[in-house]
Structures are given as C-alpha cells and as structure tokens.
C-alpha cells in the first residue's frame, strides 16, 4: 500500500536520525529512553501504527531532526524495540543504517519490580540490569536478582 508514501515521510528530514520498526505504540517510550521529552529542543516527529512494509502488522517510526544519535545511546531502546532499525540521514540520504543491538547492561532505564530492592530507595543509586536473554528480552536486577520480562515498557523509570 502506502510503502512509497511513508518512505517519503521517512526521507523528508534533511538530516538526523530515523528509528524504524518500533513496535506499535512504543514510539513515546523510545523517546523516553532517549531522554528526548518536553524539556529538550529536538525537533521530533512520529508516525504511529503504520503498516509495516516488511510484513504483517503495524509499527511506529520516530524521526529526530538535526541530531545523529550514537549507537550507545540508541541500543538501550532494544529493551522495548528489539527489531528497531536506525537510519542516519544527511542531505536527505541514508548514510548509515543498522539494527539496534541489545546491550549487556541496562543502566538507569528500568525500575526494579521488587519494592524491597535497594535500588527503589532514596540511596544515590542507578538501577542496573544484566540482560540475560534477548528473544524474549529478560533482564535481571544486579542488586536483588529479581528478573523482569514481558513488556519492559511497563517498567521504564
């Protein structure tokens, strides 16, 4: 269907970062992980619930203008969007394209589900999880060893 149309939408930014193949409904959470919210001056646009050209189902797309995000910044989004692809755009052209890679550790992104965990206190502490498996994503708190799995978007800080 609108493959050409949304292709057009994707290419419309002159330079910046386009994150494609985000599970439907997760675009805002992707921005949350990237720390791009109301307080930032980034020009951001989102496409939500578009049909995926790669097959059945729908997806979200996020476009961040005039900012090339580094892989290290982007990889944390693999926690909720494991199949996301990142396109770096310069002069309306994709100059770089790669898939996000789930990092070995997720630091300061997720909240531990154990209310009695030391990471859920006023201590000077960043939550920290070891990624134990990728499909599906399972992470384990380094402090209390509680596992998180399923929809990790529910556990974003």
């Amino acid at each position: 269907m609108s493959g050409a149309v949304h292709e057009l939408k994707v290419k419309r930014i002159e330079s910046g970062t386009v994150i494609d193949h985000i599970p439907p409904g997760q675009a805002l959470n992707v921005l949350k992980i990237l720390g791009i919210g109301g307080g930032s001056d980034a020009v951001v646009s989102m496409v939500m619930n578009v049909e995926s050209c790669k097959g059945p189902g729908r997806k979200d797309i996020v476009k961040i203008e005039n900012r090339e995000l580094a892989p290290s910044e982007l990889d944390q989004i693999a926690l909720i969007a494991p199949d996301a692809t990142v396109n770096i755009i310069r002069d309306y052209t994709v100059v770089e394209k790669h898939k996000v890679v789930l990092p070995k550790m997720a630091v300061g992104v997720l909240r531990c589900a154990n209310p009695n965990c030391i990471s859920n206190t006023s201590e000077p502490i960043a939550s920290e999880f070891v990624v134990e498996s990728t499909h599906p994503v399972v992470v384990r708190c380094v402090y209390c060893e509680r596992k998180l799995s399923g929809n990790l978007a529910d556990h974003l800080l």
Binding site: N114, N116, C117, I118, S119, T121, S122, E123, P124, I125, C141, V142, Y143, C144, E145, R146
Partner: protein, 307 residues
C-alpha cells in the same frame, strides 16, 4: 585468592573456592571452640553494620573476630545511628570503610550488601540482606554437612517454606556443585519455585518433590528443616494445619537411618519437637556453633591473614 574480595552471594564462588573456605574453617575449629589460642587477627578491626537486629549472627561474627584477637565496632540497630537521621547507606559505608579492615552488613533491603560493596574501600561481608542472600549461613550449612555426614553426593531433604526461603534457595544452588540429590518437601503453596528446579536439573541435580516428610525419611542422609512463617497464611487455622504436618518428632525419626542428621538454621519455633534434641540425629546446635569457624575463615581470608 580471597584477600580484598567481597562476600555477597555464594553463587559467585566456585566449588574450589568454597572447598577452600571450608578447609580453612576446619583448621580454625579448635580456636573457635577455645581449645587453642591464636592472635591471627590481632590489630584487625571489623565494623558491624546491623541495620536490623540479628543477635545470633552478630555475636557469631564477634566471637570469630575476638577469639582470634581481632576487635569489632559497630551498631546493632539503626535507632542510635546517623541512618536514623537520614544518612544514606552509601555514606555510612564510605565513612566506616575508612575505619575498619572489613565491613559486615545486615540490612532489611535486598541488594543492600552489593550496593554497599560498591561504596566500600574494604571487603564487605553480607550478613543477610532482606529476603536476599545470607552467604555465611550457606557456608556454615555446607560445613555442617561436610563434617557430619559428607557433602559430596549427599542425599538431602529440604523441608518447609521452599518458596520464600531464600536461605534454602542459596543452599540448593551451592549443593548442586556437590552433586547432591535433593528431596523438596513442602506444602503445595510453598513449593520450590519452578525456575530454581529447572536451574538445578540443568546443573545435573536429581530433584524429587514431595508433600510428605514421612515419605522421604528413609531416603536421606540429612533433613534440613526451615521455618514456615505464619504471615504466609491469611487463615490462621490453615497455618496451624500446614505447620503441624511439617513438625518433626522423635517418633517420626524411627523410620530414618540411624545416621541421618537433622539440621535447622535456628531459631526454631515448632518445626522440631524438643524430644528430637536428645536423639543421635540432632545436629542443629552443632550447625549453629560451626558459624564461628566459618566466619573466622572468612575474616582471615579477606584480610589476607590466611591465603
């Protein structure tokens, strides 16, 4: 191999490392019993940070340090400390690690010991963090089995609250290193969590599950009882019924091998009838006393006094 290390969870130690700790503990046992004197830890100072009271654990560490000429400072509840004024655990640890050769920490929150280790300049020993790890308990349990009935390939019944009892989880993982055969005996609502059973089976352990202590009595070298907590049952009569059916008595032990030993991390409530105390099976008081040589071994290894 151990100098400067933290003791947070026994799962971070290899079988060789655990064996080494147990062997050092065995060498130190005469000193723990006061039969021999030595000042191996003379001039060493250990800080006890007990953010929740645990008299037995604290006294056992103090006995271990002082029997070998070491000293201790610290607190046994948060009431009189700066934590009561709102000081963070991180700051308390930073300050006290400037005074002492090692920190011994008990805290009501899971993960507190690992967090403390990150802010400490000296080794941290976890003396229990919430429902989390209590590695010195696991080590003394292993030491008891090694001394009293043999550790390698031991056939052991783990009895009681296997769901919430993290002590028994740590023990099960440690026993897997020794090719133990495990009989998990619990009421259905307090069964060992499935993921732990899966882990143990993957580690090559033969795991049996049962609801009846009587049923496995004749099969095992050791019976390890744990407390079934009243709080786990919303209905008090249900608690009475369940707890009653996991109470060990001397007459039940008639079906056990004469060499089967009975262990319990103590304090017991109703899990073991007093008439078991005088049977040749009872080992829970020995078990408790073995906490001292095991803790001596850790203090000596972490400070580098013993290699």
């Amino acid at each position: 191999m151990f100098a400067g290390r933290h003791i947070i969870s026994t799962r971070e130690f290899s079988k060789d490392e655990i064996d080494h700790i147990l062997k050092v503990a065995e060498r130190l046992e005469p000193y723990a019993l006061g039969k021999e004197k030595a000042r191996l830890l003379a001039g060493r100072l250990f800080a006890m940070l007990f953010f929740e009271p645990s008299t037995r654990t604290r006294l056992s560490f103090e006995a271990a340090a002082k029997r070998l000429g070491g000293s201790t400072i610290g607190f046994s509840s948060t009431e009189s400390t700066s934590a009561a004024k709102g000081e963070s655990l991180a700051d308390t640890v930073r300050v006290l690690s400037g005074y002492a050769d090692a920190l011994i920490i008990r805290h009501p929150r899971e993960g507190a010991a690992r967090f403390a280790a990150r802010h400490s300049r000296v080794p941290v020993i976890n003396a229990g963090d919430g429902a989390g790890h209590h590695p010195t308990q696991t080590l003394l349990d292993l030491y008891t089995l090694r001394k009293e009935c043999g550790l390698e390939g031991v056939r052991i019944a783990l009895v009681g609250d296997l769901k919430y009892g993290r002590t028994v989880h740590s023990l099960a993982y440690a026993l897997a290193l020794y090719e133990a055969e495990m009989f998990m005996v619990s009421p259905p609502q307090l069964r060992m969590p499935g993921h732990i059973i899966t882990d143990l089976v993957q580690m090559g352990v033969h795991v049996h599950e049962s609801q009846s202590l009587q049923e496995v009595m004749g099969e095992v070298d050791a019976i390890y009882l744990t407390r079934i907590q009243r709080e786990r049952f919303p209905d008090p009569t249900e608690y009475q019924r369940v707890a009653g059916s996991y109470r060990l008595t001397a007459s039940m032990l008639q079906h056990a091998s004469p060499r089967t030993i009975v262990m319990h991390p103590l304090p017991r409530v109703d899990e073991i009838a007093p008439d078991v105390d005088s049977t040749p099976h009872a080992r829970y008081f020995e078990q408790s006393s073995y906490g001292v040589p095991v803790r001596m071994a850790l203090l000596c290894l972490l400070t580098g006094v013993i290699e």
